[in-house]
């Protein structure tokens, strides 16, 4: 148990971090909307890139956080209850942040696709893999909700391991699928590099979204830890009441 003063200190630091991430995001967005040059072929539509790509990148980083936390959970589950609870809370927080970032990535990507390709969706390798990532994390959250005893952490951790293996396989298989049937739209032009004058806006947005993700992760982790503590105390009190009743 931490000292109350230390908790208050950490809370202040966290809110400071949150404010800083909002400030960085605002600055990045300003650069993206007003300072960065207009793209040659797509025009102003391309400016969604500065939010789409950073959230898509974050949506690929946070699943690893979830996966590592799940592995830690499976490893320490039998050894230490506190460590297992911490790992589980961390895994849950990372999964929720993943789901948010992947949703933002999908929605902004569809808007952009509609504007520049003329279609909302194509079964391109990257889009399909991303959609699968979204589906897997929805089922991860569902397993956690469907528990009868509130004890599905182990099962959720197992699903997390499966998700981590499944996503690369899907990426590979869709790539094969698409090389056999040529894709109607070409994707990946942006990876061939962007103009250096666009770089500052992109990097500031990336930093802003990363800081925001970490902020939400810590907030959600603290909330989940508190929920665990309340559940633990309630159970303890019920046991004590039972003992007194018997005495």
């Amino acid at each position: 148990m931490m000292q109350p003063r230390k908790i208050i200190m950490m809370k202040k630091l966290l809110w400071l971090w949150g404010a800083a991430s909002v400030a960085v995001l605002a600055w990045g967005t300003r650069l993206a909307l007003f300072v960065a040059p207009t793209e040659a072929t797509m025009g102003n539509v391309q400016r969604i890139f500065y939010w789409h790509v950073p959230s898509a990148i974050m949506g690929l980083i946070f699943p690893y956080v979830n996966f590592i936390a799940a592995l830690v959970y499976l490893g320490v589950r039998r050894k230490s209850v506190t460590a297992a609870d911490k790992a589980d809370a961390f895994a849950l927080a990372a999964a929720e942040v993943t789901l948010v970032f992947v949703s933002i990535g999908l929605i902004t990507g569809m808007l952009w696709g509609r504007a520049s390709w003329g279609i909302w969706w194509t079964w391109d390798e990257r889009l399909t893999t991303y959609l699968l990532l979204w589906l897997l994390y929805v089922s991860y959250m569902l397993v956690r909700r469907f528990s009868s005893t509130g004890q599905t952490h182990t099962l959720a951790a197992v699903i997390s391991v499966f998700a981590a293996i499944d996503v690369p396989v899907v990426y590979m298989s869709i790539r094969w699928w698409r090389t056999q049937h040529p894709s109607p739209v070409f994707f990946g032009g942006k990876d061939s590099g962007i103009d250096p004058s666009m770089m500052p806006a992109f990097l500031w947005c990336l930093l802003g979204w990363a800081m925001w993700g970490v902020f939400i992760l810590c907030l959600r982790y603290g909330l989940e830890r508190r929920r665990q503590r309340i559940a633990y105390n309630t159970a303890l009190r019920a046991v004590e009441a039972g003992l007194e009743g018997n005495a």
Partner: protein, 224 residues
């Protein structure tokens, strides 16, 4: 050696149980038959079109049938606390899984053997590619579905709505396998594409996921 013996014991027990009740097989068979008939009404395909879609319909029918049967495969063990006894038994937990997967594999293969002639009749099928490859595709695809399905059915045992949970978890995880089975089968039926690449993917999927399921099964079985 004793591991193999345990697996065989589990397999024999499941086969005997199924032989006495015949619940899973009749249910699956009638269900997949209905799916085949319904799709035939829904699309009303010509011979050329049916070659394109039959692979997909076959595997979707098998997938749905698997889900209906696999939900029952572990509830059987819950009666009289058999599963608790299994949990305490000194034999390796994965032997139980392998035995059950083998039993389910045999059931689903039996369904496919009955379904295949019906498919040819109802959809007017005439394969243009190398037909013998289906002998590889069907077992590999069935193994991929049954392995993951049995594992996730065990995972859903201690949840509410376990009937609903199995497809919600199984379908997303099986997407690459399903894609590979459908592409390979369509490749054989139409003769347009080479199915070898997809068979390789399917074999790789089977190896990877069998390993993971076997490694993680003890965790799932012992989970609170």
């Amino acid at each position: 050696m004793s591991y193999l013996l345990t697996v065989l014991h589990h397999l024999a027990k499941d086969l005997r149980l199924e032989w006495r009740s015949r619940d899973a097989i009749t249910g699956m068979l009638f269900f997949s038959l209905l799916v085949v008939v319904l799709f035939s009404f829904a699309f009303d395909p010509t011979a050329a079109v049916s070659r394109q879609i039959a692979g997909g319909i076959l595997w979707v029918a098998v997938l749905f049938a698997c889900v209906t049967a696999l939900n029952q495969t572990w509830t059987r063990e819950l009666r009289n606390h058999v599963l608790d006894a299994q949990r305490m038994a000194p034999s390796p937990a994965s032997a139980l899984l392998i035995g059950k997967v083998l039993a389910n594999f045999i059931f689903v293969t039996a369904i496919q053997l009955i379904l295949a002639p019906l498919f040819i009749v109802f959809y007017n099928l005439h394969a243009l590619g190398p037909k013998w490859m289906l002998l590889l595709i069907l077992p590999l695809g069935t193994w991929a579905l049954v392995m993951n399905g049995t594992f996730f059915a065990a995972l859903g045992l201690r949840t509410r709505n376990r009937e609903l949970l199995l497809p919600l978890v199984l379908f997303p995880i099986s997407i690459p396998a399903l894609l590979a089975m459908v592409q390979a089968t369509t490749g054989v039926l139409t003769g347009d594409a080479d199915p070898v690449l997809w068979i390789k993917l399917l074999a790789g999927y089977c190896i990877i996921f069998t390993t993971v399921c076997v490694l993680l099964f003890e965790t799932v079985l012992a989970a609170e």
